[in-house]
Symmetry: D2
């Protein structure tokens, strides 16, 4: 069917309509309207020390959710593919010690099983945003899902991918805008910030921003974080690393701890004015 014809079928379960805003409750924090929830951590879990150091740092800042990839979808089969199960263990240990929740990406049926056992939020990445088999499988689980927009995906298609998850029963979905592919080269992708107010009109699901993958360069991330807060996003997911220049992946776009801490402090007052609670 042509896309247009196909899309005449309505988005149902994730559509705003008369639905109340979905608030994802994670015990120690929440994601949804009224909150600006911060998720941070390294691109990849590289070793036990870095994860511990990061977890400690986050807990000092009052941040409740740590990200860290252990199964990495890499463009080249020769690139570092992540620590796998070992990485999950490191994440788990650090999270327990510092009372953090964990988000990490699942790539397929096998890794989904492992991630589901360990993580508090299951991430479906951009390249899998239209992997309908995986969406259906995560839809059958009973755990929050963070669904990243594909970098080639319209907002309408994004909502349909969320609908696949909800259709199977799981309505605990957080949407994540992370930049779309355009001709501009000063940034890795083009952050489609207008998608936030558009999505808030069309769905009751929370929607956060990943400024790191959008920008691909750390120097403008503090500015993107402020804009994310001001436009009404429900949170951010940011790559940070104690020594970005030594990171095995995404070093160029990972913030150093000090810069990140400074930004988090700066946005507090902004959040007060906007009547949003930073989580």
């Amino acid at each position: 069917m042509s896309l247009e014809a196909e899309l005449k079928v309505d988005i149902k379960l994730v559509a705003r309509k008369n639905n109340e805003n979905t608030i994802i409750d994670l015990e120690n924090t929440k994601v949804g309207e009224g909150f600006f929830t911060i998720i941070a951590g390294p691109c990849s879990v590289e070793n036990k020390e870095i994860i511990e150091e990061t977890a400690h740092f986050l807990s000092e800042l009052g941040i409740k959710i740590m990200r860290g990839g252990v199964f990495k979808p890499r463009t080249s089969p020769y690139s570092f593919q992540g620590l796998g199960k070992k990485g999950l263990e490191y994440l788990k240990l650090a999270a327990e010690k510092y009372n953090l929740k964990i988000i990490t990406e699942a790539l397929d049926e096998d890794t989904l099983k492992l991630v589901n056992e360990c993580a508090d939020i299951i991430q479906i990445g951009s390249r899998n945003a239209q992997n309908y088999g995986l969406l259906r499988k995560v839809g059958k689980l009973n755990k929050p899902v963070l669904l990243k927009r594909g970098f080639m995906m319209t907002i309408e298609e994004f909502l349909y991918s969320a609908e696949y998850i909800a259709f199977e029963g799981n309505k605990n979905i957080i949407l994540c805008e992370r930049g779309i592919r355009t001709f501009e080269t000063k940034t890795r992708n083009t952050l489609d910030i207008s998608a936030i107010p558009v999505l808030k009109k069309e769905t009751h699901l929370p929607i956060i921003i990943d400024p790191s993958h959008a920008a691909g360069r750390r120097d403008i991330i503090p500015d993107l974080i402020k804009a994310s807060l001001a436009i009404g996003a429900h949170g951010i997911m940011v790559e940070i690393h104690p020594q970005p220049e030594k990171a095995l992946s995404d070093g160029k776009q990972s913030m150093i701890f000090k810069e990140f801490e400074k930004t988090i402090k700066e946005i507090k007052e902004l959040a007060d004015v906007l009547k949003v609670e930073i989580k």
Copy 2:
């Protein structure tokens, strides 16, 4: 020459380097670092009454610069092409009455002459952003220029277009991001908000945002205005209309007065926190 080779030649006059931030002084207001300057008005000058009504409204709000197109670059030769000289007169009269500055677009040599006689800021539109003949001509004038980014222009090319103007002597240039063309259709264009911090690193020129043309729909413009302020843009240019549903052009994206007023009031507190003066 291939673009790559060609672009090895450096951007010079508009480059940040050790230059101080350019502040455009318009007597009754300023544009540049430290300020968030609001420009508003109808897409087109349609008649004397609407312009008077708009000028009155703006002056009540404390806004100092009014926009209004009189020479309209229209995709079709059969569309309303603007009121021309008559429109300039209406603009002038209303501006004088309410002590406003005027910005309006020049399309070519003929209209540039007329616009230069009447306007306080000369606008070069998106479709003319690489019309180097026109850029050179405006570069020879002694009046502030607002240069809109072409909707398919890289940031690098945008800076080169500004360089053309500066090269001829005129360094009073305000850059304006107004959305780029992508595959997304929920908005008219995709606002490239990351361009703001990128440009602030690369040039000393002020840079503002036109959320109206980026969005193409009025309902998300208040959110885009807040994001523009938070990310550090030096201002906004917004289309407003007393009765958008009757507008001869851009009605769908023009804000009604009441909504606009509400937004302007809402951002005051935000500006205070950000230590920016709303102008």
Copy 3:
């Protein structure tokens, strides 16, 4: 890792270098340099009769490979998802009767198993072009794979996805250009025909064109087929349907039999001049 850094790792197994052109041998036909191989059939297998009718038609025309989707990756969970196993049976029966080879899409581990049992070529679709788990799995099989370019994928990323398959051992890969996503709306996607000569310089793998998904409209497909042949593509995959207006999917872009037959006849002479054998 930033994409740039990541991509410094070379493409190895699928790179042209000193490798001879890969020719995929399917017993009754071949795909590769020197040939222009035609693959045709309905978007979806809808029922036994249509598949039989199509198979008969193709065999009369001397075409050796029939396409037909049974597991459909649909943007909406409410759209027709394909006949599944039943569809595979119909394909198999018709193919045996008319001595045709079959190509059909696998979406995930489960459907890959079923497709592998029945099809002669396994298709990996655009939305799965960076589903690295699936690429690895198909890389472990001993059967030709047709890999479609993602509609927002660079040529470099496309080659890396092929490398994933080759990396696991399976080097029987046919690349398929099917249009990329741009701002143009007169066609469903923009056929990137330049990708053919570019890819022929960079890889030894055969590369064919899917004009149906690129165009999204049947009226220009004959022209795209001629261009595909002239530019040196190794074949085409075309959607045809006995009654496109009644098709359950992609009707708008499916050619009617008569038009398709006419086109196939017209290109014979062209192929002679180009010294290419139509298969």
Copy 4:
């Protein structure tokens, strides 16, 4: 007005409707349906010798139209801007000696006057494709115009730009597809070859292809020329240079004479099969 609303106004004069195909008659050659007209020459006129050498070469090959830029729209004001009037003289001299027609670009009112005095076809470049003032001016002249598609322009907007020219009286318009801007980087732009059959359905004007600017690399241009012929384009405009590695502009994409000659010979047989006369 929003673009959609604006575009409801019909394309009239250049629309196909019941109009006969426009054939541009240039005395020594023609452009339009039934012909495949070749235009070639250097990107820029650099000196008298190169133009003479090129003219001689073209006349030997039976080619009737020579291109050569003298007023160059350059991204940077510091790049070579063309020889100007001197260049026009060189073009004129060489053309007269070898009985060639000339096409060269006009950038604005001043250069249009000069170009109109000397050239046989006036080129309006990509960056000026929505410079409506210039389109109107060229529309008032009595000379064939080659209108290049902007690299950011939809087919619909392209037709509206042609309509501007026709609206002022000049209907001798040749459209030129030259690639659109996408995310792909292996080529300078993405040749939108589907635009040819689409445009042939929507307008009676001739439409040619500029493979040089589309590709930005000479190695794939022979392939693009063959595809252009096969898809039904009415001609091509190609950059050639006796010593591309020494060219002041576009050297990377300029074909060397020998390669170009080889390609022109190769397409003769193709043209016979397609029943098209090479001009």
